[in-house]
Subunit: 265 residues, 2 copies
DNA sequence: AGTTCATCGACAGGAAAACGACAGCTCGCG
DNA sequence: CGCGAGCTGTCGTTTTCCTGTCGATGAACT
């Protein structure tokens, strides 16, 4: 039915017996402009699926009563072809799940990172939308990211990013030119329930900068101005952070967070 | 995407009384951009065939009621020349089937691997597409694979691959330059219902690398790097992973999976 | 100047991947 | 019908390198 790319909102059904988790996912999805409903049991899931007609389903496999596998079977038996993204416990039934991803489905291990889940949902939707091969490429200035091949390049230069770096950058690029707080980045990119409050984000940003701004000594702090609204101001200090590859793209907004964009202002 | 010459979408009819199996096949086919419909009984199959006019049919021989042989007869009697790929149980009527494949049809034993089935479908389609059957040759950099002759070569050198290695490589090449996860590879190349969670994939990749990257001492980790992007950084240091035949083509994307592609710059 | 916030080098624990070695199987050949 | 070769997959070890913590240095704001 509806497909990604369509004008209408994506309809998502989230099935998880842990309400907080289900809500978390639903909330993020709604934030992206999707319509989302949740179900906390297998039975409810089937009921919701029947009336809501989701375009995609997030299904926890460990459900009391009618478990995820059973729900999947019933869904398929009723002729529905909705793509499904499964959630499984770390060491749980991961093996059995593997066999289910052949279709267009996919799966994720709990605890997962929200951005990771959203990324998979988008991918699955894109693929199930038919001749599937429109690639999804994010771009900001001369920085591009191909989500299928995972190739990231600054201009011509191909960058080598670690998984975490890749995730953070993707989130920043996707939201560009919005400024994101460290908390937001932490919440989206790290697994939910990541206790470690630390400067991890700063760390990753630092490493990212070095790689994509080619910037050795970089440290050009410029974006800076105080309050969120970024505004214009900033630069000032001369060097626009050009390390070797052009202007700096990751800017620090002191007291707020980070943003990826061409300098502006 | 993958071309057989058809401009329009391939129309596939899948006949299997086990809905999950039929759906599995249909889903994968749709992924490839085909149009697919399923039928769960012989009667339904004939009905669907009449209205859908498939270009090719996947037909399970063990159907309750009107069985596969009967369905085939009726189809032929009605003048249809659609090529058919049969599915049979491991020890079942394999012999009798042999006699049916004359027309250019083919058959596969259950349980099968999805990629294997898709490969046969493509082959049969190609042959039935007219006398002028172009060969289907996959190529990535100087690595080529002829799906008809099963010849694989790196540059001039002919490689000797075992069945499993061949399948894995074909899947990787077909999807190149997309990064595939181990789960995807496992799901496509191994028979459905292969529970084994193990490092088989890593193993095969390792063996493939040794053969096609000519890599004796191998372990040239270079392409390998973090996520996705690999690449550039590497070169420099002399070894481009070139064992003897050029740059490494199978790259590890840590935390994600594997890709076949030229490092590109 | 003092205080707060950010950057980044260095290090260690640990997760993921590579790979050698071995055993069960299949299949072809004698 | 039995033997042997090659293919596969499991185990366990080794290697690689990703990640987050600490702490010192440096900027920016008040």
């Amino acid at each position: 039915m509806q497909h990604y790319g369509h004008v209408e909102k994506v309809r998502l059904l989230v099935v998880d017996d842990d309400p907080p988790i289900a809500d978390l996912v639903a909330t993020v999805a709604r934030y992206e402009g999707w319509e989302a409903v949740t179900a906390n049991s297998g039975e409810e899931a089937l009921r919701r699926a029947a009336e809501f007609h989701p375009d995609i389903v997030v299904l926890d496999l460990m459900l009391p009563g009618l478990d995820g596998f059973a729900v999947l079977d019933r869904l398929r038996l009723s002729g529905t072809m909705v793509p499904v993204v499964f959630l499984t416990a770390r060491d749980g039934v991961a093996d059995r799940v593997a066999g289910l991803t052949r279709g267009g489905d996919d799966y994720l291990v709990k605890p997962f990172a929200v951005e990771e889940l959203m990324a998979r949902l988008r991918t699955v939707l894109r693929r199930s939308a038919g001749p599937a091969f429109q690639r999804s490429v994010l771009a900001v200035a001369d920085l591009t990211m191909d989500e299928d091949t995972r190739e990231v390049r600054r201009g011509e230069r191909l960058l080598t990013l670690t998984p975490t770096e890749y995730e953070v950058l993707r989130y920043l690029m996707r939201k560009s030119p919005t400024v994101l707080t460290k908390a937001q980045i932490l919440d989206h990119v790290w697994e939910y329930g990541f206790g470690g409050r630390s400067n991890v984000v700063e760390l990753v940003i630092s490493r990212l900068r070095r790689k994509l701004d080619g910037d050795g000594d970089g440290t050009d702090r410029n974006g800076t101005d105080g309050n969120g609204t970024d505004g214009s101001g900033t630069d000032g200090s001369g060097g626009d952070g050009a390390g070797r590859d052009g202007p700096q793209l990751i800017h620090t907004v002191r007291g707020v967070g980070y943003v990826v964009r061409q300098v502006a202002g």
